[in-house]
C-alpha cells in the first residue's frame, strides 16, 4: 500500500465540475432548509473511498448559512473550508473521528462556492447559493490584511532607521578607540538587524552574482564563523564582535570593518524603503525569524564571542511578533482559533524571555553562557517549537483570505 495518494490537490478544471455534478459525493442537491434564520447544512466526513466529504444539501438561499461538520470515520481528513474564488470564507480544523460536531455560520451572497476538504477523494465540491450576489466586501479580511502590510512596512523602516543611528554610534566608538563603549554599543546595535532579517536577507548588490558572497548584503552585515566564506572573509557585525570581545583590541582592520558596516547599513536603509509586502510575506518572515532562533540563537553560535545571544533571540521574537501583530486583525476573521493559538504562543515565549532580563548588562539580557545553555536551552527551544507549528499555518490562511 504505497503512500502516494493525494500528494497534490487536483487542479479544478472545467471538466472537474462536470464530474462533481454527477458524482456520488453530493448526497442531495435540494436546497438546505432554513431554521432560526439560517440555512442548515451538514457536512459529514467518512472513510468512504479513502476519505469523503458529504454535503447533505448542495445549495442554500442567500443569507446566513450554518455548516455543521462531523467527522464520523475519516482518518485522512482533518479540515474543511468554504472558499469563493479560491479565497477562504470559513473553515474548521482539528477534525477527527470521535470528536463532537462543530459548526460555523457565514452570511453568503448568491454564487458558486467551493467546499474544500484537503486529502479527500474529491477534494473540491461545488456549493451553490441562490439569490442576490453579495456586494464586494470592503471591510473584509483581505482589506484589513492589506492595511496591516502597510503598517508593517512602516515598522521595518523605523527599525532600519534606528539601526543606522546605532551602527553610526558604534562606528564612532571604534574610530575613537573606546573599547568599553564599543562593546556596550555593539550589544545595543545588534537586535535591529535580527528584527527584520527575514525581509532583507536576499539583497544582492549591483554587479554581483547571487552566488557571490562579496555582493550579498546579508553576508556583509551578518556573516559569522559558521558560514565564513574564506574567499570573502570576515565582515560586518561579527567581525567587530570578534575583535572587541575575543581579541579585546581595536585595530585598523576593526576601524575599516566598522566604516564598511556603516556603508552597508546605509545601502540596506535605502533598499528597505522600496519594499512592499503581501500578507504571506509577513507570515513567512515571522516563521523564518523563529527558524533563526532555533538554528543559531539557542545553539549559541550567533554571538560566540559576546554571548549576547539572548539579545538577538529577543530581537528575532520581537520581529516575528510584530509581523504577526499586523496580520492578527485579519487572521482573527479568517481563523480565530489559529490567531489565538499563535498569540498565546508569543505570549508564553515573551513571558519566558522576561525571566532572562538583566538591566545591568548591555543589551538587557543575561549572557548566554555555556552553563546557561546547558541548563535552559531545552526549555527555550520547546517554547519556540510550540509557537513554530501553529505559526507555520498562518501564511496559507492570509494568502487566501477574501
Amino acid at each position: 500500500m504505497p503512500r502516494n495518494k493525494s500528494l497534490v490537490r487536483p487542479v479544478l478544471a472545467a471538466g472537474a465540475l462536470l464530474v462533481l455534478a454527477t458524482g456520488a459525493a453530493i448526497a442531495d442537491a435540494s436546497v438546505a432548509p432554513v431554521t432560526n434564520g439560517a440555512a442548515q447544512v451538514a457536512i459529514t466526513l467518512t472513510s468512504d473511498n479513502g476519505g469523503s466529504c458529504v454535503l447533505d444539501h448542495a445549495s442554500a438561499p442567500a443569507g446566513p448559512v450554518t455548516f455543521s461538520v462531523t467527522n464520523k470515520t475519516a482518518t485522512a481528513l482533518t479540515e474543511v473550508e468554504l472558499e469563493l474564488d479560491n479565497r477562504i470564507i470559513g473553515e474548521k480544523e482539528n477534525l477527527a473521528p470521535g470528536l463532537p460536531t462543530v459548526s460555523f455560520t457565514l452570511t453568503l451572497g448568491g454564487g458558486s462556492y467551493q467546499l474544500y476538504c484537503p486529502g479527500a477523494a474529491e477534494e473540491t465540491q461545488t456549493f451553490m447559493v441562490t439569490g442576490a450576489v453579495a456586494a464586494v466586501p470592503t471591510g473584509g479580511a483581505a482589506a484589513i490584511l492589506a492595511e496591516g502590510t502597510k503598517g508593517y512596512a512602516g515598522y521595518v523602516t523605523g527599525v532600519v532607521d534606528a539601526m543606522v543611528t546605532a551602527v553610526g554610534r558604534l562606528n564612532s566608538d571604534i574610530a575613537a578607540g573606546d573599547l568599553g563603549k564599543a562593546k556596550a554599543d555593539y550589544a545595543i546595535a545588534r537586535p535591529f538587524y535580527e528584527k527584520i532579517e527575514s525581509d532583507v536577507d536576499g539583497f544582492v548588490l549591483p554587479g554581483f552574482k547571487p552566488t557571490d558572497n562579496a555582493g550579498n548584503l546579508d553576508y556583509l552585515i551578518d556573516m559569522r564563523a559558521s558560514n565564513l566564506d574564506d574567499a570573502v572573509g570576515w565582515h560586518g557585525f561579527h567581525a567587530l564582535e570578534r575583535d572587541l570581545f575575543e581579541a579585546g583590541a581595536i585595530t585598523d582592520a576593526t576601524r575599516q570593518a566598522a566604516a564598511e558596516l556603516v556603508q552597508n547599513v546605509g545601502k540596506l536603509d535605502a533598499l528597505t524603503k522600496t519594499l512592499d509586502y503581501k500578507p504571506e510575506d509577513l507570515a513567512n518572515g515571522a516563521a523564518d525569524l523563529l527558524e533563526e532562533v532555533q538554528s543559531s540563537k539557542i545553539s549559541g553560535e550567533e554571538e560566540q564571542f559576546s554571548h549576547i545571544d539572548l539579545v538577538d533571540f529577543a530581537g528575532n521574537v520581537e520581529g516575528a511578533q510584530q509581523a504577526f501583530a499586523f496580520l492578527e486583525p485579519g487572521l482573527k476573521i479568517i481563523d480565530p482559533d489559529l490567531a489565538k493559538k499563535v498569540a498565546d504562543g508569543f505570549a508564553s515565549v515573551l513571558a519566558l524571555l522576561d525571566t532572562y532580563r538583566d538591566p545591568s548588562v548591555p543589551g538587557g539580557f543575561k549572557p548566554y553562557t555555556d552553563a546557561l545553555k546547558a541548563s535552559d536551552a531545552t526549555r527555550l527551544s520547546q517554547a519556540i517549537q510550540a509557537l513554530q507549528e501553529p505559526l507555520s499555518k498562518v501564511a496559507e490562511k492570509v494568502a487566501t483570505a477574501a
Binding site: 500500500m1 504505497p2 503512500r3 502516494n4 495518494k5 493525494s6 500528494l7 497534490v8 490537490r9 487542479v11 472513510s47 479513502g50 467527522n71 464520523k72 470515520t73 475519516a74 482518518t75 485522512a76 482533518t78 482539528n94 477527527a96 473521528p97 470521535g98 470528536l99 484537503p118 486529502g119 504571506e280 507570515a283 513567512n284 493559538k341 498565546d344 504562543g345 520547546q382 517549537q385 510550540a386 513554530q388 507549528e389 501553529p390 507555520s392 499555518k393 501564511a395 496559507e396 492570509v398 494568502a399 487566501t400
Partner: protein, 417 residues
C-alpha cells in the same frame, strides 16, 4: 487487536499462508512456556513481509502489545503543555485518526499542498514505503488522571508512579511523561516517520511537547511463534515470555473495572544502559553464570535445550548449578510465586559516549495488569542480580494503555464520559 495473533492479518496470510502450511500460527501447536517442543526450524512469524499491516481500530487491546514484535521501535514520551481537557481530547482524536492512516501505510494528509504558502500535513519521508507492520501504541501517564483534566475519577485503580527500586540510577532527562507513543515496524523509517508526524500534531494542537525517546533496533523479545532473539549481551532474551491467551488474561489485560479499561494494561518503560566493553572482556563462562544460561543455545545451565525448564535445585559439588544471583533464577516465575510479565524490549544504541565507550543497551518495555508485578521482579533483580555489574537503569516511565478504539472513536474516548 484481540485475535490478530490467531488469524494473522490480511496480506501476510495471502502471501505466505500457503507456503507456511501447517506451520501457520493458527494451526501450529502453541509453544507453551517451558514446553519441551523444540522451535520449528522455519518460523513464519520470523519472515518479514513489508506489505503486512495491522488494524488500529478494534474491540480488544491496542496493537503493539500482543503483536509479534517487529524489528524496530521508536519510543517517545511527551509532557502535556495544556491544562485544557478539550485540548487533550483533540490531541487523542487527532493522534487516533493519524495512527489509523499510518498503520494502513497511508499519509496523514497532503505532502505537497498546491495552496501557496502551505506547509505539508505529512512530512513525506515514508512515501512509497510499505506499512511494514507498523503499530503505534498510545499510553496515558499518571498526570492525565487528575483534576486538571477532570479525569481524577477515571484513574485506573492501580495507576501510580513506580516505587523507587534498588539500583535505580535515573538521568532526570529520561524519566516520566504524560503520554507515550510506542511505534514498532519492520522498516525503521516507517517507525520514525510515525513518531515525527505525531509529535508535530502534539505541537500543532498546542497540547504536548517531547520529553524523552529511544530509537531501538533489533527486537529483544519473542512473540508467539517467533525465534527468540538476542540482546546486545549476545544472550537470548524472552525465552519464557508470555504467549498463551490464558497467560495474557492472567497477567496482562485488565479484566475488571470500567468497561473502557478492560483489555487495557500498564506499560513500564526502562532505558537500561549496558557496560558493553566490560561485558565483552568478561569470560564467557562467567557471562553464562550471570545469566544462568548457555550463551549460544540459550539452554539453562541445567539443561541442553533453550526450552528446557531450569532446575534451580540442581547442585554440583554442593553449589547450585544455576547460581543464587543468576538473572534467570531471580526473574523466573518459579521463584516469584508464579509471577510473569510480558516483555517487549528492543536493543538501542546512542553511538559513543563522552568517554569513548559504546553507548548502548536495552529499551525494556513490559506490559502487566498491575505495576506491582514489575516492581516485585525488579526489587529482587535490582538488589541481587549478578547482571547489575554490567547494566544501569537510567530511564523510567509508567503509562496506562487503554484498549483499542472502535472505528469512529478515538483512544480513551469513553473516559471523558
Amino acid at each position: 487487536m484481540k485475535g490478530t495473533d490467531k488469524t494473522g492479518v490480511s496480506r501476510r496470510g495471502l502471501l505466505i499462508g500457503a507456503a507456511a502450511g501447517t506451520l501457520s500460527a493458527a494451526a501450529a501447536p502453541v509453544f507453551a512456556e517451558d514446553a519441551a517442543a523444540p522451535p520449528a526450524p522455519d518460523r513464519p512469524e520470523d519472515a518479514i513481509d513489508l506489505t503486512r499491516s495491522y488494524a488500529f481500530y478494534g474491540t480488544g487491546e491496542q496493537a503493539g502489545i500482543r503483536t509479534p514484535p517487529q524489528r524496530h521501535v521508536f519510543y517517545m514520551t511527551f509532557d502535556l503543555t495544556s491544562t485544557s481537557r478539550q485540548d487533550l481530547q483533540v490531541l487523542l482524536a487527532r493522534w487516533s485518526g493519524a495512527i489509523a492512516q499510518l498503520m494502513a501505510g497511508q499519509t496523514i494528509g497532503q505532502v505537497e499542498p498546491d495552496r501557496p504558502g502551505a506547509v505539508g500535513f505529512d512530512t513525506g519521508e515514508a512515501l512509497n514505503l510499505e506499512p511494514a507492520s507498523l503499530t503505534v501504541t498510545v499510553g496515558l501517564g499518571p498526570n492525565v488522571f487528575t483534576d486538571t483534566y477532570g479525569l481524577a475519577a477515571a484513574r485506573p485503580a492501580l495507576m501510580r508512579e513506580l516505587k523507587t527500586l534498588p539500583s535505580d540510577a535515573f538521568d532526570p532527562h529520561l524519566v516520566g511523561g504524560d503520554l507515550s507513543l510506542q511505534a514498532c515496524a519492520d522498516d525503521p523509517q516507517v517507525a520514525y516517520h510515525a513518531i515525527r508526524d505525531l509529535a508535530r500534531i502534539a505541537k500543532d494542537t498546542g497540547t504536548a511537547a517531547t520529553r524523552w525517546s529511544v530509537l531501538g533496533f533489533g527486537r529483544a523479545s519473542a512473540g508467539k511463534g517467533q525465534t527468540t532473539p538476542r540482546n546486545l549481551m549476545g544472550f537470548k532474551d524472552g525465552t519464557r515470555n508470555i504467549v498463551t491467551d490464558a497467560d495474557f488474561d492472567r497477567f496482562v489485560w485488565l479484566t475488571d473495572g470500567p468497561a473502557w479499561q478492560r483489555h487495557g494494561t500498564y506499560q513500564v518503560a526502562r532505558k537500561i544502559q549496558m557496560r558493553i566493553e566490560n561485558w565483552d572482556t568478561n569470560r564467557v563462562s562467567n557471562q553464562n553464570a550471570v545469566f544462568g544460561r548457555h550463551k549460544v543455545s540459550g539452554a539453562p545451565l541445567t539443561g541442553t535445550d533453550e526450552f528446557d525448564p531450569p532446575d534451580f535445585d540442581k547442585t554440583a559439588e554442593g553449589t547450585p548449578v544455576i547460581p543464587a544471583t543468576a538473572h534467570v533464577r531471580l526473574a523466573a516465575y518459579e521463584t516469584n510465586g508464579g509471577l510473569k510479565i510480558l516483555r517487549r524490549g528492543y536493543n538501542y544504541t546512542d553511538g559513543i559516549n563522552q568517554y569513548g565507550l559504546l553507548d548502548a543497551g536495552l529499551l525494556f518495555i513490559s506490559y502487566q495488569k498491575d505495576p506491582a508485578q514489575f516492581e516485585t521482579l525488579q526489587t529482587r533483580l535490582g538488589a541481587s542480580d549478578a547482571l547489575n555489574e554490567y547494566i544501569a537503569h537510567i530511564g523510567s516511565a509508567i503509562f496506562f494503555v487503554p484498549p483499542a478504539p472502535a472505528e469512529g472513536e478515538y483512544i480513551a474516548q469513553a473516559m471523558f464520559g
